[in-house]
């Protein structure tokens, strides 16, 4: 009745770090106890790890499977990227760098050529070749029952060609400059191991054969992932023989874990704990601007947007948000500095872009709107709302850092310019489905993207299912000129040209206040003294990037 994963005897006893004192004797006591019970003879454990370098990381969200092509969720990818790699990699600033492909170029506007690194070995010792790459690009579309996420990354590809074992050509129907970025999301698996593998095969480690710096030792669902260094790794040798990723979604639990010395690293520190951890002399914090930008969608398509009315409760003559003066007034009413300093306790910077500073296509010339309640009132009057109106600000309450509090602050700031705003906050599982059905006129969303044009395509391009534009354009903002610019930018296979176009498009969208940007979040890691980590804009926590301090 109970299905138990096949475990090797050595895996039956997990290796646990304990305070150094009495480690060996406790270990032998455990061994004696177990052999006395006659349960199983256990040969290898604890003693071996006494000298070995181990890194214990507290992850902030549940990992549902080890299969790298099943669900495109950050915790799954964090785990998978220890074991698997992609053709293109991204650095800590989200810029593309070579991964399993040494180089790539557009042979012609619709053909990308990737030259593979030679001599890259999978965990089983076999060499990674073009066959594995093509297999991995095909695989996401073939998994049954996958809630997906990966199909859109490979859908632009219409043909794949193996030129030689170390060269792959990928054809797209139309010129598509973002392909090397999209392809970063597809991790390369061993064709031999994964060809007929099920999710169970991946979770049990039989199919989890990649080229990454770590190989899977054990996946204990809902609890931990144990990894061991892959000695045949082609890249820089990671500092840790063993890595344990503990799944600890509750914030105080992670904090307690690092305070008690049971964890070496924790990710996603809640704002409330930062001061306390910073004051602790045995810990270090690293921080950077995250790629996640928080903004509000304002419904611009409905004649009568939901929960928007005159203060008397009567419906308005027309949708106020379709008037740019109203959108600008709302933007001016928001004191972004106060939100960043007070509500976010310094863990945010005011935003004027849909992508964070440093991300491809970020336009540094755009400046965040200064707080100007007087100007906001004047604009509202000009637009025909001298007494303002009433709105409901919708936000999730378990998704972004202090999301509900940010919405509350915005509502209060709107009240100061005469817009009566109340807040409706709810769990993400309720919020997203309702927002997608256009049930909110004033809705918070957070977004992280590798590129400005990709973000624009999803968030503010006119919804067009055939082209895949505007999938998250809840506001149904429509601007044909912007659509044109986004398309041109994405079609540019020359990186410099594409970035220039993406910046221009960003300026057009932001100057038209397609959305109301609030801030870019900061992301923080805490680690024990003696460790270093280069904080990553994409918020990933990679054991192999932690190093002992020189």
């Amino acid at each position: 009745m109970i299905a138990v994963q096949a475990l090797t005897p050595s895996a039956l006893i997990g290796v646990y770090r304990q305070p150094p004192s009495g480690l060996a004797c406790r270990a032998s006591a455990v061994a004696i106890r177990i052999s006395r019970l006659g349960v199983l003879a256990v040969s290898i454990f604890i003693a071996a790890s006494a000298q070995a370098a181990e890194l214990r990381i507290g992850l902030s969200a549940d990992v549902t499977t080890v299969d790298p092509h099943f669900l495109a969720a950050q915790p799954n990818l964090t785990t998978a990227r220890h074991m698997f790699e992609s053709l293109t990699d991204v650095d800590e600033k989200t810029r593309l760098i070579p991964g399993l492909a040494e180089s790539w170029r557009a042979v012609d506007p619709t053909t990308w050529e990737f030259r593979l690194r030679r001599g890259v070995r999978f965990h089983d010792g076999s060499e990674m070749t073009a066959e594995d790459v093509v297999f991995s690009l095909d695989r996401p579309l073939t998994i049954k029952g996958s809630p997906g996420g990966f199909a859109s990354f490979v859908r632009p590809i219409v043909a794949k060609e193996i030129v030689d074992p170390y060269t792959v050509r990928v054809k797209t129907a139309a010129p598509y400059g973002a392909l090397p970025q999209d392809i970063n999301s597809i991790l390369i698996v061993s064709r031999k191991a994964a060809a007929r593998a099920s999710a169970e095969d991946f979770d049990a480690g039989r199919a989890a054969v990649g080229t990454g710096p770590y190989r899977l030792v054990r996946f204990v669902r809902g609890d931990r992932i144990e990894l061991a260094r892959f000695e045949g790794y082609w890249g820089a040798r990671p500092a840790w023989d063993r890595v344990t990723l503990r799944i600890l979604p509750s914030d105080p639990v992670r904090t307690a874990g690092i305070l008690a010395g049971e964890l070496d690293v924790i990710e996603h520190i809640p704002t409330a704990d930062i001061a306390r951890l910073r004051a602790n002399p045995s810990l270090r914090l690293v921080q950077t601007v995250s790629w996640r930008t928080i903004f509000f969608h304002l419904d611009q398509a409905s004649a009568e947007p939901p929960a928007v009315a005159a203060k008397s409760g009567k419906p308005l003559a027309r949708n106020p948000f379709s008037d740019i003066r109203v959108r600008r007034a709302i933007s001016m009413a928001i004191n972004r500095t106060a939100i960043a300093e007070r509500v976010m306790e310094g863990l945010a910077i005011p935003a004027a872009n849909l992508v964070s500073p440093g991300v491809f296509g970020h336009n540094p010339e755009l400046k965040s709107q200064p707080h100007d309640p007087e100007g906001a009132r004047r604009l509202l009057k000009e637009a025909g709302y001298p007494d303002g109106f009433a709105v409901t600000v919708a936000a999730p309450n378990n998704r972004y850092v202090n999301d509900e509090q940010v919405a509350q602050a915005v509502a209060q700031m709107l009240a100061r310019v005469g817009i009566a705003a109340k807040v409706e906050a709810m769990p993400l599982s309720v919020y997203f489905p309702r927002a997608r059905k256009h049930e909110f006129a004033f809705a918070m969303l957070g977004w992280g993207s590798f590129a400005g044009d990709l973000a624009l395509r999803s968030l503010v391009a006119s919804p067009d299912p055939d082209r895949g534009y505007g999938a998250w354009n809840w506001a149904r903002y429509a601007n044909p000129r912007l659509d044109q610019m986004v398309q041109q930018s994405l079609a540019a296979v020359d990186e410099k040209r594409r970035e220039a176009l993406a910046r221009e498009a960003q300026a057009v969208a932001m100057n038209d206040l397609a959305v109301i940007p609030i801030h870019h979040q900061l992301v923080t890691w805490a680690m024990r003294k003696g460790l270093t980590y280069t904080a990553r804009t994409d918020e990933f926590t990679f054991a192999h990037h932690f190093r002992p301090q020189p």
């Binding site: 006591a29 859109s152 609890d223 997203f432």
Partner: protein, 325 residues
């Protein structure tokens, strides 16, 4: 007896059916899980394709009918996020929860009954009063707060016990068990104490009330008049007679400890099925939510049945309905 059990099981089938319908409609009403699961960069076509692939574009009654058909074959569906049968996912995590629940019930019973007896025998002494005051605290302090305090005191400040997680497991008859090793016991100590506090207080109060009531009964007076030692009076006459309500409560509470260990499991990162339920609700993983609740309903039905049968064992005067010809 057999007829009684058969009737009970039949009733429970109906309860399971109603439960599955309620959960199904409830989760359906919240929304489409794909909206939460899908990778942000996915376009409309992919969202539609995935929704259709999982059958989520069908009308509710069609989805329920499909579910019912496979449920009758014993297939409760695959988890949307883990690509593993929901039932397997739950059963894999069940041993951890049962272990935690059993450990906390042991703590509650081993401490609760003697303390309750003591408080019942000496209601006005300072010992009795202290025990009762303690039980009020156990009732009224919120579990999550106590859990965090336990972690802060015993793990962070004193460093005696691990903060979270489950110890190394060994397989006993195919079930992974962690409490056979010292390390496993160290891990289970804090969460089980946390989970036991409420039950402990309940048992103290129940035992104390029962003891005080029994002490005033004629048979106790008679036993004492006969010259029996206090020890024998308490252990034979009092204890035996107050056991029935205690067994009822222990039985039912064991069920609720298993079903609602969620808070403790979350705080102590205990890899049990309560944590699984929370994670599943957050992503609207309907197959897992439905399967979990069905299993819990089934468990309560079985526990109730066992309690009823135990009555007749403990007290020959109680006969299970239908047992007599």
């Amino acid at each position: 007896m057999l007829a009684f059990i058969a009737r009970r099981l039949l009733q429970s089938l109906f309860a399971l059916f109603v439960m599955s319908l309620l959960v199904f409609v409830g989760v359906y009403a919240i929304g489409n899980p794909i909206d939460i699961l899908i990778n942000p960069q996915a376009d409309q076509a992919e969202i539609a394709a995935v929704t259709a692939a999982l059958g989520l574009d069908q009308p509710l009654w069609v989805q329920y009918w499909t579910f019912l058909q496979s449920a009758l074959r014993g297939d409760l569906g695959k988890s949307f996020v883990a690509n593993v049968p929901a039932i397997q996912l739950i059963l894999n995590r069940m041993p951890a929860t049962i272990e935690l629940a059993a450990a906390s019930m042991v703590i509650a019973v081993v401490l609760g009954i003697p303390l309750g007896l003591l408080a019942g025998l000496r209601p006005d002494s300072w010992v009795g009063r202290t025990i009762m005051a303690g039980s009020i605290l156990g009732f009224s302090l919120p579990t999550f707060w106590v859990g965090l305090m336990l972690i802060m005191v015993f793990s962070v400040h004193l460093g005696w016990l691990p903060t979270t997680g489950r110890g190394p497991t060994v397989d006993v008859l195919g079930f992974p068990i962690s409490i056979l090793s010292w390390e496993g016991i160290r891990h289970v100590l804090l969460p089980s104490t946390n989970l036991a506090l409420f039950k402990l207080s309940l048992l103290i109060r129940l035992t104390r009330a029962g003891t005080r009531e029994a002490l005033a009964q004629d048979y106790v007076r008679f036993a004492r008049a006969k010259g029996l030692s206090m020890r024998r009076v308490v252990s034979v006459h009092v204890l035996k007679n107050i056991m029935i309500p205690i067994v009822t409560v222990v039985g039912l509470e064991f069920g609720s400890v298993i079903a609602f260990a969620i808070v403790t499991e979350t705080i102590f990162a205990w890899p049990g099925m309560g944590k699984l339920l929370i994670d599943s609700i957050n992503v609207l993983d309907r197959p897992v939510i439905v399967a979990y609740l069905l299993i819990i309903v089934l468990m309560f039905i079985v526990i109730n049945l066992v309690v009823d049968v135990l009555y007749s064992v403990l007290d020959p005067r109680v006969r299970v309905a239908g047992a007599r010809p």
